[in-house]
């Protein structure tokens, strides 16, 4: 009953409360609504334009300014070395900062400043534990679309480690001894270098630069590693020439060879003696499905009676390495190395070393390392460097 009464009441009241508007009223309402729609559309377009402008301003706010053209990076590594025949060590082995600046699309600056072994002590005889070193300070100019000229202090284009030695890029806590003792990495000089790509995947470097100055007395006489002057008031009487060809035209493959000629590795240190030197290095590396195989060989030939008498007219070494990434974070490796800085001698002077270990990447640029070293010195040497190493490294 109640529903019936309510329906009747509505039916009577409806024509009074909701009388149909006239056609004119409806036309006016439609026109007003159309105006409102146009106004809202314009407002929405204005809002879109403001948002776009804000986004564009935000995205371009950092481009082209000094900060965006200046880069800072670096790398570092801490080592723990356990030796069977001597005291264990912990070492803040390297702490490196890179600073670079892009002056223009074709002109840039790059530098690398390094503290080695944690402490640079100002001692009278220079016997402090560490070193503060300027490893690179160069200007690079793209003088043509595919070629650049590098002027200043640069890393010699030789081997694998010399130019790329951030700790997250290689296996083993310590850098391999063949490249350290024979190449000798890390090695930089001052001069001029042209480099570029001549065919897809085939690149070249040609450089004229300062040379080695090896000691001419003592146990380090004519040792190439001891001859690095590090561009520190370096004697530049005798320059050196380096050329490298590198092929990386197949994914995962690198083939490279370097040749260097030095007129006098002692910079005239042995009067009346021709101590010209030449270095030849070649390496191959192939990576497929997590497996990487590497082989590298290097050899110095040094002229002169002194070098021949010491057996240092030939200094050479080689290593082979196999590594496998079990997961993107975990890799294992084994490396067999042989090197001899007295290879011209008839005595047994060759050193062998077997390294086995793992890398675990906490991040793709932060790595933990552990490896075991089986060091086999020449038969005339009583002690060896067997032991194990732990390392922590990073780059950014």
């Amino acid at each position: 009953m109640k529903k019936t009464h309510l329906a009747l009441a509505l039916a009577v009241a409806a024509p009074v409360a909701f009388a149909a508007p006239s056609t004119e009223d409806m036309w006016n309402t439609i026109q007003q609504q159309q105006l409102e729609i146009e106004r809202l559309k314009a407002q929405a377009a204005q809002t879109d334009a403001k948002v776009e402008a804000t986004a564009s301003a935000f995205e371009s706010s950092n481009s082209g300014d000094w900060m965006s053209r200046t880069s800072i990076g670096g790398y570092g590594e801490h080592h723990f070395n356990h030796f069977e025949d001597k005291d264990d060590e912990v070492d803040a082995h390297r702490f490196v900062l890179f600073v670079g600046h892009q002056f223009s699309d074709t002109l840039r600056f790059f530098s690398e400043l390094e503290v080695e072994h944690g402490l640079v002590e100002d001692t009278a005889d220079g016997s402090g534990p560490g070193e503060l070193e300027l490893e690179q300070a160069l200007i690079q100019w793209d003088f043509a679309a595919n070629h650049s000229l590098t002027l200043g202090q640069f890393l010699i284009p030789v081997g694998i480690l010399n130019e790329t030695h951030e700790p997250d890029t290689f296996y083993g806590t310590e850098r391999n001894n063949v490249e350290a003792q024979i190449v000798p990495a890390t090695w930089w000089e001052t001069g001029a270098m042209v480099g570029g790509e001549i065919l897809p995947g085939l690149s070249y470097n040609v450089a004229v630069h300062s040379g080695l100055k090896t000691p001419v007395t003592g146990s380090s006489t004519l040792l190439v590693r001891s001859g690095r002057q590090k561009s520190a008031k370096a004697t530049a009487e005798d320059l050196a020439f380096t050329g490298r060809l590198k092929y990386t035209g197949i994914a995962g493959l690198e083939l490279a060879t370097t040749y260097q000629q030095q007129q006098d590795v002692t910079q005239g240190g042995i009067p009346g003696e021709d101590t010209a030197g030449s270095l030849w290095e070649a390496h191959a590396r192939y990576t497929i499905a997590g497996l990487t195989l590497t082989a590298l060989a290097a050899e110095w030939d040094i002229d002169g009676a002194t070098a021949k008498a010491l057996g240092r007219d030939q200094q050479k070494g080689a290593y082979v390495e196999a590594s496998y990434k079990i997961t993107p974070k975990l890799g294992i490796f084994v490396r067999q190395s042989e090197w001899d800085n007295n290879a011209g001698s008839s005595a047994d002077t060759e050193v062998e070393q077997l390294d086995v270990g793992i890398n675990y990447w906490l991040h793709e640029r932060v790595v933990l390392k552990a490896d075991i070293v089986n060091h086999k010195p020449p038969s005339t040497t009583s002690s060896d460097n067997d032991g194990f190493n732990l390392g922590l490294g990073w780059s950014f």
């Binding site: 699309d105 040749y259 260097q260 000629q261 499905a289």
Partner: protein, 200 residues
């Protein structure tokens, strides 16, 4: 060497060669000569290889679809953050779309400078990846087809990573990583657009 010394300029060259020891080293001289011969043969190692209009035109064979905008909302920005390992610098991205094919222009830093890439996604797979501009001083080999062809047909696997192994280039590790991350990001973005289109 006497012939070289007969002219002043060539005499200087002779002196330099002698100073470098090249006169006594046939192997070094041959290597230097070969390098000089190869210098004029050029392909670009650093610079712009393809402009954005050229990339779009070649992707859609001249019938360029209208430019669209994808705003990087919270969830999408989070996925990109995970792919790149850092927040992506843009608030929105422009892209071109025709049916299931979309083309993206993205940037990522290798070691120091941004690499600009063009990625074409068709459905849920990468159809093509091109290096548009390369600015780093090392690692430019990533622009070559022997490397970029590895991405063709790649799809998203678990955790927004590619469903396949990409073989790297020695000495170009950081550039290889940058290209791989951009490939993953393009697939994430194309999937987001597909989801948005499905809802609409």
């Amino acid at each position: 060497m006497r012939i070289l010394k007969s002219s002043c300029a060539l005499g200087s060259l002779s002196s330099l060669f002698s100073r470098l020891g090249l006169a006594r080293s046939p192997r070094a001289a041959v290597l230097a000569f070969l390098c000089c011969l190869l210098l004029p043969v050029s392909v670009m190692a650093r610079g712009t290889y393809l402009t954005v209009p050229e990339f779009v035109s070649s992707t859609f064979r001249g019938s360029e679809p209208p430019l669209k905008t994808l705003w990087l909302s919270g969830e999408l920005q989070q996925r990109l953050h995970k792919v790149f390992g850092h927040p992506y610098k843009s608030l929105r991205l422009r892209y071109w779309q025709q049916d299931a094919k979309s083309a993206w222009v993205l940037e990522e830093i290798g070691k120091e400078l941004p690499i600009t890439l063009g990625v074409v996604v068709n459905g849920a797979s990468i159809e093509q990846i091109r290096i548009l501009t390369y600015r780093e001083s090392r690692g430019g080999e990533v622009r070559h087809p022997f490397f970029t062809e590895q991405f063709e047909g790649a799809q998203l696997g678990a955790d927004d990573t590619l469903d396949r192994q990409i073989d790297g280039i020695t000495g170009a590790t950081l550039s290889v990583r940058a290209v791989t991350r951009v490939a993953e990001a393009a697939l994430v973005l194309a999937a987001a657009v597909a989801d948005k289109d499905a809802v609409q």
